[in-house]
Amino acid sequence: MQMTKKLLVRDLLVHPNLIEDWNLTDWDLVIQQGYATGLLARAYSILRKNDLLKSIPDSVLWHFTSAYKLYLAHQLDIQAEIDFVTKALSYAKIQPVFLKGAAYTIAKDACHDGRLFVDIDIYVDIKELAAAEQVLKWSGWKGEELDAHDEKYYREWMHEIPPLTHVTRGMTLDVHHNLVPLTSRVSIDGKLMADSAKYVSSLGLCVLSPEDRVLHSSIHLLLDGEFEKGFRDLSDIDMLLREFSTSDNAFWHKLVTRAESLKVGRILYYCLRQTRQMFNTPVPDDVMNKASKYRPFQIIDWVMNTCFERVLFPGHHSCRPKFYNLASNFLFIRSHWIKMPSHILIPHLLYKAFVTPVKEWKLRKNIEKNDLTG
């Protein structure tokens, strides 16, 4: 991969000691890349753990400390929100499985420290979904008003219901009833993952097992078709892999076996390849070889990896590889192709192309008026 472009934010995350040789121009760039990727708070956490805060120049330091303060405030909100969600669902005796950012926080995975996220994702069994929606509504969560098309999109095709927002606190809750879209060509039995979800004993809260956390994050990173936060999400996976493989010798074996039984070996292959390439993740060769059994036909393998390695770079001009847009458009189209069969996909795209823009334009007109205050 082209390493001519400076990817300092990656260097900082993976080899923090390198910062001791940085000059002010490097710091100038890393702050920009940090803002572009939303990773300044994570960077701060890593520098602090490595006792390197003293090596940050005075004029630069506040960018890190402010980002971290913002993170701490978000954490308080998130912790409270996790309790609210748990409490609300307990009225219907439903135990949700927390996913993504909330799960990292609950499980205290290393990547949670400094990671910002604005909404909470939970999984509930489809049989409990109606009851869950009901009790959440009673406790103040409200769904966005959607038109009939979008309602159908979520209810019949997707793996989650329309996002809920709490009326007073404003926090968003995504309720999943499967882990990939129902119509997807890559199907996973969400129940299978949820059944092996583990309690984090001290809190009485439920998250996926370590292997499944990695696989679930990889599936969303590589199949959702949106890569705006791709670099951050790949960094999550890198950190999860490093942490789990250090604390559990059998982790790599479990991960590969689990991917095989969930039939997502190919996703694991792409993901390990990308994280190794970007973050130099210490994936043992035999694990890579096992995962490589699931690589596709040579030319497809080449196309896919070439695209992934482009879009997973931060969206900042200083490190954006050539053909970034081409790769990103290709993967976006592919993600839709995978998400839905063509008899659903084509009418959906036509609707999004011609009906939604008019609706959004009207909406935007209203928002613009209230957007800039101060």
């Binding site: 572009a36 402010s66 405030a73 101060g374």
Partner: protein
């Protein structure tokens, strides 16, 4: 070196190439733009600002006009911080106001070392007056009039940046934003003040920016100690003047006017408390008579 040491050609050249690095108030900015109104606005209103000769800038900002077909049909301009666009694009003519709003946003959204309050701050004889205010309160007009009065220094027309460690206000002297009728009021109040061209039909109505005084800009490193909090309230039929209010009431108001009170948590609470420890608090109902308003502020400062 100041921006006014460069000529217009240089400023345009930097804006188009490496970016123009200078101090916008207390923060260093690297600004890129090919839009002429940005070059003119910066030249006209930031002339006294220091050029940043280090290799580090706090905020890398680009103001980008539409390309392609949109250049010709209702062109728009976009504000980018580190290549990310936090706002919807605005009409092309509003590029300079968008830069100013964007710079405020940069501070309120990223700077949590300080408690940032939506307020104007002015200082005389080492005593600072904080003027928090909702739009329409007459805060900006009063602030602009004081800036044009001998002996008063502008710390900020929008953002009171309180340092919880030093218990002082960090100056952030930047152009003063004026809206609608206040533009003409201040133009007739001061014959010497310099203004950017008025931009009409923005989301806030007509907007013009006034150049801060030279003294305010060169003293940007000198913090000020808060001494008074005055909540202005414009009412064309009333000239009630200064009315003392309780610290409890002021506490709630200040917290409400803060951008990052929640984010700072306990530090936000102690910051507001330590501002109030030092300050007397007033409501100020005035009918828009600026010379009488200035007299009252002068008396307040002189009293102690």
């Amino acid at each position: 070196m100041k921006l006014s040491d460069l000529d217009y050609i240089d400023i345009k050249h930097y804006l188009k190439t490496t970016g123009l690095s200078f101090f916008a108030g207390s923060f260093s900015v690297n600004l890129k733009s090919k839009i002429p109104s940005i070059a003119k606005g910066v030249m006209q209103l930031y002339g006294d600002s220091k050029i940043n000769q280090t290799d580090f800038s706090d905020f890398h900002i680009v103001l980008k006009a539409d390309s392609g077909i949109r250049r010709w049909i209702r062109p728009r301009v976009e504000f980018l911080l580190s290549d990310r666009a936090p706002f919807f694009p605005m009409p092309y003519e509003q590029a300079f106001p968008l830069l100013e709003w964007g710079l405020n946003w940069c501070v309120t959204n990223h700077c949590h070392e300080y408690l940032v309050i939506h307020a104007a701050v002015l200082e005389k004889n080492g005593k600072a007056i904080i003027l928090p205010g909702i739009p329409g309160s007459g805060k900006s007009t009063l602030c602009a009039a004081l800036v044009n009065t001998e002996g008063w220094r502008l710390l900020s027309d929008e953002l009171a940046i309180f340092d919880p460690v030093k218990n002082t206000i960090l100056p952030n002297p930047r152009p003063v934003s004026l809206k609608n009728q206040s533009i003409d009021i201040i133009k007739s109040f001061s014959k010497t003040a310099q203004f950017s061209p008025t931009v009409r039909d923005t989301i806030k109505g007509s907007v013009a920016h006034m150049k801060p005084s030279y003294e305010s800009v060169v003293q940007r490193r000198i913090p000020a100690v808060p001494r008074y909090i005055v909540f202005p309230k414009y009412n064309k039929d009333s000239n009630l003047g200064l009315v003392s209010i309780t610290k409890g009431e002021s506490f709630l108001e200040l917290a409400e006017h803060s951008f990052n009170y929640q984010i700072l948590g306990e530090q936000g609470f102690t910051s507001v408390a330590s501002i109030l420890d030092k300050c007397d608090c007033f409501k100020y109902v005035y009918d828009g008579d600026l010379s009488s308003a200035i007299d009252q502020m002068e008396t307040l400062i002189a009293d102690d």
